[in-house]
Symmetry: C2
DNA sequence: AATCGGACGTGACAGATGTCATGATTCTTT
DNA sequence: AAAGAATCATGACATCTGTCACGTCCGATT
């Protein structure tokens, strides 16, 4: 958490305290890496980065306050010298695509061996990209997000168990319009009904 | 991973390789704790435990091959000298109840501070119980699982987006019966529809 | 022997859902 | 200026869902 005698200076952002501490401990076992800060969400991470100006940020995606994806975009704008590695549970093509669009240099899955984390940090620090190859392939042939913003809003709410009428009132639409959007989403995703459609969209990282 | 000169000997089971390695690294930083084995699922954990006879097993719940809950029950039977600490993301009353029924001595959430893990291991090793207090309170007043086995089976499939007819065919029931069970589940859970019911049941740890 | 809960069924009905045709409006791109 | 896409709408229709009343059968408890 202090000086870096030529070491790669890293900040870790992750909302699960236990995992945050554990990842930091893991990186600290590497002789050429120093963890110079931790954060429990995106907003916190931005503050710490402004102070520490680290070489690399390792961040989860799903966090309160500010998503890792939003965080990556902010870091690119405000602290371009800090390279971002996304570290997440989710092998979702949509997440990968958004991460790369947001300027992330690495996308790593939590179910890979622990040794890959340090290796990814080193590579990204050297200016290389690190992307899980299987996921990259899947992202390639699963195509882009076919949903419009409205469809996404409505499908999201449908997935929470809300009825067409409830969704219509919430978004100030007519019930028929909501049913139309859902019908569109169902057909675009090749789903059998709204629940199925929400599941598929979630799995792809489109919700 | 080797000798334990009076140290507490611990095995960690967790399916996400990165988290597994990180948790091990975290525990290894403690002077009185030694990690003598790792496992990526329940079955693997049983093998390692038979060899190592550790003092404490720290295990996740949701793993392939064998759940942490099943694992806890097996360990109580076959290796009663090993005490079990469940370490999970999910603050679900149903999980806690099942964990305690399975003989686990500790139930810890991954979003607690990292320092609590070592402390929990020490306490459990001393014969004490460690249960997240908030979760324990919630478990107490949320009552027991109200669903019957059939209702659970059917609600699970409904949550996957299957129609009543599909579920009926899969379970060799009439469509009307499936609708009746769903109706029962919806009313027991105070839900608005099948999607809502599945959400609630999942959140409680009953699915 | 009587009671109770779980599993399973039917029939009927109202309301929710999914589909389709058809159209208006607006904004962007060619 | 024309074409395309996204937003929003209506009406009509068939199907799916959720509820209720009312049963049967079985195994465990009393």
């Amino acid at each position: 958490m202090r000086e870096g005698n030529g070491k790669i200076r890293v900040i870790v952002a992750e909302d699960q305290g236990m995992v945050l501490g554990a990842l930091a401990a893991l990186l600290e076992t590497e002789p050429d890496i120093a963890v110079c800060g931790k954060a429990a969400n995106g907003r916190e991470a931005l503050t710490v980065i402004a102070k520490q100006k680290p070489d690399v940020l390792v961040t989860d995606i799903e966090m309160p306050e500010m998503t890792g994806l939003t965080l990556a975009a902010e870091v690119r704008q405000r602290h371009p010298q800090t390279r971002v590695v996304i570290l997440t549970t989710f092998a979702r093509p949509g997440y990968l695509r958004r991460a790369l669009d947001a300027g992330a240099k690495g996308y790593l899955l939590k179910d890979r061996p622990a040794a890959e984390l340090a290796e990814a940090v080193r590579r990204v620090h050297r200016g290389l990209r690190v992307v899980d190859p299987d996921l990259a392939a899947e992202a390639w042939d699963s195509g882009p997000d076919p949903l419009t913003e409205r469809e996404r809003q409505i499908l999201w709410r449908a997935g929470e168990g809300k009825s067409s009428l409830e969704i219509a009132e919430e978004l100030r639409l007519s019930e028929g319009t909501v049913r139309n959007y859902l019908s569109e989403a169902i057909s675009k995703l090749g789903a059998a009904n709204r629940i199925d459609a929400a599941r598929i969209a979630r799995a792809k990282g489109w919700l």
